[in-house]
Subunit: 145 residues, 2 copies
């Protein structure tokens, strides 16, 4: 159940200053976490109304895990919490950007600083690593590879 106000008309949504987030048919919206200092994108995950509310209350990123179907306070296991520096929404208020201070060595469960560590070669369809080395050992942090 959303605790956010009802949305007004298109003009209010796009030009107003009331935060009236819109969730999709699954009750979710995408949230991109970006390192507030380096501007490097860290990860893209999803929030439902409850996790968005918790994010605002705690000042730390709280997502909705689609795979586990549960509230996911990022860093609860690894210690790699994301401290919110600034939250933005877009014109139609159905997407979120979190500018965060990433605590610990990285945001990605593979051990890298962020999840977007591969770029795509459009001609070949193959990828190459942008960030090859791992920032931390996922096995020691999460107890599994």
């Amino acid at each position: 159940m959303s605790t956010f106000p009802d949305r007004g008309d298109k003009k209010q949504v796009e030009e107003g200053l009331g935060f009236t987030p819109k969730f999709d048919s699954d009750g979710l919206m995408p949230a991109m976490a970006i390192d507030a200092t380096t501007k490097e994108p860290l990860m893209l995950a999803y929030m439902n109304a409850e996790s968005l509310q918790l994010t605002l209350e705690k000042g730390e990123a709280v997502y909705w895990s689609r795979s586990r179907q549960e509230i996911w306070h990022k860093g609860a296991t690894s210690g790699h919490v994301q401290k919110i520096q600034e939250i933005r929404t877009d014109c139609d208020q159905d997407a979120i950007i979190l500018y965060v201070e990433q605590i610990g060595a990285g945001a990605c469960h593979t051990g890298r600083s962020g999840c977007f560590y591969r770029k795509i070669n459009a001609a070949s369809g193959e990828m190459s690593f942008v960030e090859d080395g791992k920032a931390f050992d996922p096995e020691s942090v999460y107890g599994k590879a």
Copy 2:
């Protein structure tokens, strides 16, 4: 119908160099466009397999419009195309980042350089403008406000 290869196991998806994108139950994945020079996030939209393939072929951002339910070659109306500098995917290959050169004054249909022009005050739930002025006049570009 996806023209991309079948996905392998988790290790191949996360550590491999074959691009095997995963679309959600609606056949879509989120794509964040970021200004390649300034690192400012421009917009978040969605791609289906066809629009992703077209993006790779054209070297310009092609999205799927959820509201119009059609392929959306960004800039076809406004001239504000997004020339791809680099495309990245994330660990589980279900999200895309486009680093782009934004042609024209801006990416947002409201007339701003990007869509994320408001930040949220967590305590009050109110927002304030990060980017107040408009970069272009949407009426003159799109023919409507």
